[in-house]
């Protein structure tokens, strides 16, 4: 992806500020709600995370606002604990992916030459092996404990972050103020952290929003191959998988986690646009 993405166009200051504020804000409360659910899950949840409370796929009723799941556990409770696991897993993996991807991407752009060629080839190799296969291999050899799961997802996602970061950094490295810093004798670390990074935050944030939502879809695909999160912990991606069959019986069980994922994705991406809009207004 050789495109150098400047701050995404939605970020250009919009028209009537009133409409913009109202709209952008609506991204923040949604994410805040989900984060609150994740944080307070153990205290707020009506039942235990793995507690069996009813029949299988009971319809919503007074005790179970959203009915029960494929093993008779309370769906609302699972969603709350699911929020906690999904958000932590996705957040940690995103941080790892961006830490690794951005550092490599910036170094490749700033140093260039054989470093750039070497790292880019290595990344291209990782990119060309189907993601699920590489995950399958790593998780089968190292076992799928939580840290290994986060490390694997983070590593695989960092390859995509690398391409974006490198493209963005290449756009910045040619600017005069970087030359000025180098002319002063500044080291690579200063150039990366103080010169390039602040200017790359906007485009990387736009990509970050997308990456964050791709990651918990990735977890769902992993659970499809039996590699997902350790039971009985709940995560939205696996919950969609476990309850998918209910769809055939006209039951809405899988729709709750699927909608939760959709809302979190929309919330996060709107929050990113809100940040971009603020960024674009000097």
């Amino acid at each position: 992806m050789s495109a150098a993405r400047g701050p995404s166009p939605e970020s250009r200051p919009s028209g009537a500020s009133r409409g913009w504020l109202r709209f952008a804000a609506s991204g923040a409360p949604l994410v805040a709600l989900i984060l609150a659910a994740a944080a307070l899950a153990p205290w707020v949840a009506p039942y235990g995370e793995a507690q069996f409370v009813g029949g299988v796929w009971d319809p919503p009723n007074l005790q179970h606002w959203l009915g029960t799941d494929n093993l008779g556990r309370d769906m609302f409770t699972r969603l709350l604990f699911g929020a906690r696991n999904t958000v932590t897993l996705a957040a940690l993996a995103t941080v790892l992916a961006f830490g690794l991807g951005v550092t490599l991407g910036f170094c490749a752009a700033a140093v260039g030459g054989w470093v750039d060629a070497l790292v880019s080839r290595a990344i291209e190799i990782l990119l060309s092996v189907p993601v699920l296969i590489s995950a399958l291999m790593v998780l089968s050899v190292l076992g799928n404990s939580l840290p290994v799961l986060i490390a694997t997802i983070g590593l695989l996602e960092s390859t995509r972050v690398y391409t974006i970061a490198r493209a963005v950094a290449r756009g910045i490295v040619v600017r005069e103020f970087v030359a000025a810093a180098r002319l002063r004798g500044e080291g690579l670390a200063w150039v990366l952290v103080r010169e390039i990074l602040p200017n790359a935050l906007a485009p990387l944030a736009a990509e970050g929003g997308l990456r964050f939502s791709f990651i918990f879809l990735f977890v769902a695909s992993l659970s499809f191959l039996g590699l997902g999160i350790q039971p009985p912990a709940a995560d939205w991606g696996s919950m969609v998988r476990e309850n998918a069959q209910a769809i055939n019986f006209g039951l809405a069980a899988p729709l709750y986690p699927a909608t939760a994922i959709a809302l979190l994705t929309i919330g996060v991406n709107r929050l990113v646009d809100h940040y971009l809009a603020a960024e674009a207004r000097p």
Binding site: E10, S140, A244, Q245
Partner: protein, 517 residues
């Protein structure tokens, strides 16, 4: 003047559109539209089954998964068949009788049977076919025929088999799905020649197989449909959808809930077979803490079998009692102590073993048996009540049988029902068995089991087998919570479809047995 870039305001629209779209599509299944029988050729039975993979081959020595076995029975026949009462009945044989102490048997071949290539069936063919699995062979059926030490042609119609240890139920043992008869010296397994009702037309391993009727089939009232198409559909939901939308006539391995759903619709029929297939949590009796009998018993009492039956199988199965012989088996020991869910009893055994607050780890994957992960989670909750901390560790399905099974001290495993009690014991309980997953070695048990096998008097044999069952149940390392029914379903057009005593899809012989209305 270019309009200023107005901020997008679609959050309400996005949330609404996401849920409404999905919910809108769902109507109760009973009213679904009847599909046009696209691609349906007249008289073709279409089977959508799980249990196929791209590396399948039609060589009986390599049979590991169910699709090749089903196809095998369409093309070839075995020596002995198991009828729906579980009795061994002759197939390519006419009759058999044991000499003296059931160590030497003579088998008489059925006459006038012709292979697809016109060659008529001879004793040499049978001997060659059995020898494929004996001696230096890659075939896993080697264990089944291990007991045969002599195989001799007596005359144009009879062969004699000499056993090392007496086996009163040798005919049932010979009904194994891998012991299929091919012409003497035959090796071209890509195009098997058999005596079955159908010949191979198309075979794409794990994907699709089409066989067509030969005509003039020697077996009475069998081989009705014109052609059979077997499709490999690994995903349960995909199988169910294929049946409901009319793309296949028969599907196998559906879960209890889908079974209830399909039952409510007159266009479908559900067949339930109780074949002795069981799930097991195997404890390694030579590893701590499972070496102590009290620990094993505590763990056996700490599982809630009824809830497992209801939640996992929706009732389609039988509660297991930690020994491999199912209640509907004539040799089932009715006087066994019931290991019902009893947290206090479990605590009692823990105190005996001096291991209050026991913590163990159960390693599982859905590759062990269908729903293994959910079973482990339910077991975890139940064990907590009995003061046992059961950690569930999910292992990847890939490489489960080599990396986890027989390696982890406490892990999930599975066994399909066996034709004979001895086969069940030989599989995992005799100390000589290579797949003795619980590493439970009791010479006394081996002696009794072999004695029973050779015992011709059924009452005495039942008594001996009863004692064996007691030993496994009370002292064994196998925690068998459930016998799982085979549930399959199909359209009401399929006729002659009956539950089977062994395996599913009528002992995998559905191809030659059913007809289309």
């Amino acid at each position: 003047m270019s309009p200023p870039l107005e901020r997008r305001d679609f959050l309400r629209a996005a949330a609404l559109c996401g849920t409404a779209g999905a919910l809108g599509g769902i109507a109760s299944l009973s009213g679904c539209a009847v599909p046009d029988g696209s691609g349906d050729t007249t008289g073709m039975l279409r089977i959508g089954m799980a249990g196929g993979s791209t590396s399948d081959s039609l060589d009986p020595r390599t049979y590991v998964d169910w699709m090749p076995i089903n196809i095998g029975y369409q093309l070839m026949n075995g020596l002995v068949e198991i009828d729906d009462q579980g009795r061994a009945v002759p197939e390519l044989l006419e009759s058999w009788e044991p000499q003296g102490d059931a160590r030497v048997w003579t088998f008489t071949l059925r006459q006038g049977i012709v292979f697809h290539n016109g060659k008529s069936l001879t004793p040499e063919d049978v001997i060659y076919s059995l020898n494929l699995h004996r001696g230096h062979t890659p075939s896993a059926a080697q264990a089944v025929v291990e007991n045969i030490v002599g195989l001799r042609k007596l005359d144009a119609r009879r062969i004699e088999i000499t056993l090392q240890g007496a086996d009163a139920e040798l005919p049932a043992t010979l009904s194994d799905y891998r012991l299929l008869v091919v012409p003497d010296g035959f090796a071209d397994w890509a195009h098997p020649i058999g005596t079955g009702a159908y010949t191979l037309e198309v075979f794409e391993p794990g994907v699709r197989c089409i066989t067509r009727k030969v005509g003039g089939y020697w077996k009475p009232n069998a081989g009705h449909v014109e052609a059979i198409q077997v499709l490999g559909i690994g995903d349960a939901i995909a199988r169910t959808n294929a049946l409901i939308s009319g793309q296949v006539d028969v599907i196998n391995r559906i879960d209890g809930r889908t079974a209830d759903l399909l039952r409510r619709n007159s266009r479908f029929q559900v067949i339930r077979s109780q074949t002795g297939q069981y799930a097991v949590f195997a404890m390694n009796c030579e590893a701590e803490p499972y070496a102590k009998a009290d620990i094993r018993l505590a763990l056996k009492y700490a599982i809630d079998r009824e809830r497992l039956l209801k939640t996992l199988l929706n009732g389609y199965g039988m509660v297991g009692n930690d020994q491999p012989i199912p209640p509907n088996n004539p040799y089932f020991a009715t006087d066994l102590a019931r290991h019902a869910y009893d947290p206090d009893q479990a605590r009692h055994h823990l105190r005996n073993a001096g291991r209050e607050g026991l913590e163990v780890t159960l390693e599982v994957s859905d590759a062990a048996f269908f729903g293994a992960l959910d079973a482990a989670i339910l077991y975890q909750a139940a064990a907590k009540e009995a003061g046992i901390t059961l950690n569930v560790r999910r292992r990847p399905a890939d490489g489960y049988w080599s990396a986890v099974w027989m390696q982890a001290p406490f892990c999930g495993s599975y066994s399909d029902g066996r034709t004979t009690v001895d086969a069940a014991f030989a599989k995992a309980y005799k100390s000589t068995s290579a797949s003795n997953e619980t590493r439970w070695h009791r010479p006394e048990f081996d002696r009794l089991a072999n004695l029973a096998r050779g015992e011709l008097d059924p009452a005495r044999r039942r008594e001996l087998y009863g004692v064996c069952q007691h030993m496994i149940c009370d002292d064994g390392g196998a925690l068998i919570p459930l016998f799982m029914d085979h549930i399959e379903a199909g359209s009401d057009k399929v006729r002659g479809w009956k539950p089977s005593a062994i395996y599913d899809l009528m002992g995998q012989r559905i191809g030659e047995r059913v007809w289309l209305a």
